[in-house]
């Protein structure tokens, strides 16, 4: 657990309103994610989780601004770089995101395989262009590897798939270029429990096959994080108030806010 993949160094982010008022959404957050590690981040809506994600991906588009601090992936800083540069050279290849709503991510009038091919086209470098046939081969191979009904799913439009299939397709697409680290931002909160389990199983399949090595998993469901994450960080009002192993956080919370979160959890004795 020594190779640090992602390093966040005293990162603060703020929004600048039209009237020049600053709203500090993320305050002085520092953490590292090592190779093979899954970090869970829990917090209520509006605590700065999503803003943090934008910062981690180097996507600080006004009104969001960096106050101070640095984000490094494999030692390469993402700060003070243009959005185009980050989009072309970092996203999807080094860091990738699994968003919450699969419906908003997939183009409704394109087949899944076309949306997948776009990832390759967007990140092609001069001199190593792939033909459509090669791209298709790679897409089909990857979906086969993930144990999906490759032919049917890739040839469907998003509307023809179930919510679970859509979300799994999005995950397949966003990890096509084998990123180092994946940020999953509430990837299952719109799904029912059974579909949630399917999707999470697939994410771990990808992780165990080495398609990506590390993950940041963001959700407000602590029991889910307990099963998914090695370490859990609790975010409250833009700050990390507690970080520990998932065992520690769930079984022996220290901070008052974490204790409150655990206390408010609805549990069922019949679940064994």
């Amino acid at each position: 657990m020594s190779d640090v993949v992602l390093e966040v160094d005293h990162l603060s982010l703020h929004y600048l309103s039209r009237f020049g008022e600053k709203f500090h959404a993320v305050r002085d957050v520092s953490f590292t994610v090592s190779k093979g590690e899954v970090l869970g981040i829990a917090g209520e809506s509006g605590c700065g989780k999503s803003t943090l994600v934008s910062g981690l991906m180097g996507m600080c588009i006004p009104p969001l601004h960096v106050t101070s601090g640095d984000v490094r992936i494999n030692g390469e800083s993402l700060m003070n770089r243009s959005v185009e540069d980050v989009r072309a050279n970092v996203l999807a290849q080094k860091i990738s995101m699994i968003p919450q709503g699969a419906f908003n991510t997939l183009n409704p009038v394109r087949k899944i395989k076309d949306s997948a091919a776009d990832v390759f086209y967007a990140h092609q470098k001069a001199g190593q262009r792939l033909s459509r046939a090669e791209i298709n081969d790679r897409i089909f191979d990857r979906f086969d590897e993930l144990g999906m009904e490759t032919k049917r799913i890739l040839n469907s439009y998003p509307i023809q798939l179930t919510a679970g299939e859509r979300q799994r397709s999005v995950i397949g697409i966003s990890t096509l270029l084998n990123p180092e680290i994946v940020i999953a931002d509430e990837p299952t909160s719109a799904l029912d429990v059974s579909t949630q389990k399917e999707v999470i199983t697939m994410i771990f399949d990808l992780l165990n096959k080495g398609i990506f090595s590390s993950m940041i998993f963001i959700t407000h469901e602590l029991p889910l994080l307990y099963h998914v994450a090695d370490d859990i960080a609790i975010m409250y009002k833009g700050q990390f108030v507690e970080r520990g192993t998932s065992e520690q956080i769930v079984k022996n919370p220290q901070h008052d806010y974490t204790k409150m979160l655990m206390k408010a959890m609805v549990r069922c004795d019949y679940v064994k």
Binding site: V38, S45, F204, Y226, H227, V228, D269, Y270
Partner: protein, 277 residues
């Protein structure tokens, strides 16, 4: 708890509902039979697409059954103001529940027109305020807000506040807390249970999360593919069941007491490493 001497609120006898989906017929509810008694807190549990939301809209009279008898206090359910004076609902998708051209506040207060006798504007406004506070919202903060300025979770809580302000005899709550933060959820459900007890409300709670169902209700229906496959008290349904849908729903919940929720997860791997060492 015996239900024999309580009046029956909803009586369903072999009801089905199908929709025209292009050329073929899509059956959403298949031969469902059940009774919901006065004062019940019934949960209908199933994964998405199992027909639970359609069943909810049938109870509201928004969809008439294709076949079978479906009655409310012995009379066929009709989409009339009289029905909605007593039976109200919290819809599933908060994003489509509000008219974007009016402020949230006026839309919540408009609900008073269904009530008979109709409360005065001021009285109902007070009830809305109380409802908003019960779901952790500050009434003054949202006074001038429009729907698109709120998050899904906030809008969902608005819908709950509306239902609380209406104090219906029967409340159909379709996934009322699906977008609400996990730690706020329990508080809202506690308040729902409290107000249910105070007003002797009958509540039909629709969810995909069996632990929530167990937390709130005295009877649970499990639905799969349009059919009610298992019904009874939580103890009967969850305790010693062998019914596969119920077992799967129980199995799929990520609970902190489970050792191995997903076979290939970190937790499972760690457990294995510890075993080998």
């Amino acid at each position: 708890m015996s239900n024999e001497n309580k009046p029956v609120v909803f009586h369903a006898d072999n009801i089905s509902k199908s929709f025209n989906a292009g050329k073929h017929l899509k059956v959403a509810v298949k031969n469902a039979s059940f009774d919901i008694y006065d004062g019940d807190f019934v949960s209908i549990v199933g994964s998405s697409g199992c027909g639970k939301s359609v069943l909810a809209k049938m109870m509201l009279g928004l969809y008439p059954p294709t076949s079978g008898d479906f009655t409310y206090y012995g009379k066929p359910i009709a989409n009339t103001k009289k029905h909605w004076n007593e039976v109200q609902s919290i819809f599933q998708d908060p994003f489509s529940c509000f008219n974007q051209f009016f402020s949230i506040r006026t839309q919540l207060e408009d609900a008073r027109f269904i009530l008979n006798p109709r409360p005065s504007r001021a009285e109902f406004a007070e009830r809305v305020d109380a409802g908003l506070r019960a779901v952790n919202m500050e009434p003054n903060e949202i006074r001038e807000k429009y729907p698109f300025e709120l998050s899904g979770g906030q809008m969902q809580r608005m819908l709950i506040a509306r239902a609380f302000a209406l104090r219906p005899k029967v409340l159909i709550a379709d996934e009322p807390t699906s977008m609400v933060d996990a730690h706020v959820r329990a508080g809202i459900l506690d308040y729902l249970m409290k107000i249910k007890k105070e007003l002797n409300m009958t509540v039909v709670f629709i969810t995909h999360d069996i632990s929530l169902a167990n937390y709130v209700s005295n009877r649970i229906f499990i639905m799969h593919d349009g059919q009610i496959v298992n019904q009874g008290t939580p103890d009967e349904v969850l305790g010693t069941t062998t019914e596969p849908t119920t077992l799967k729903l129980l199995d799929d919940i990520p609970d902190v007491n489970k050792q191995e929720w997903i076979p290939n997860s970190h937790l499972a791997r760690k457990a294995k490493i510890a075993e080998n060492a």
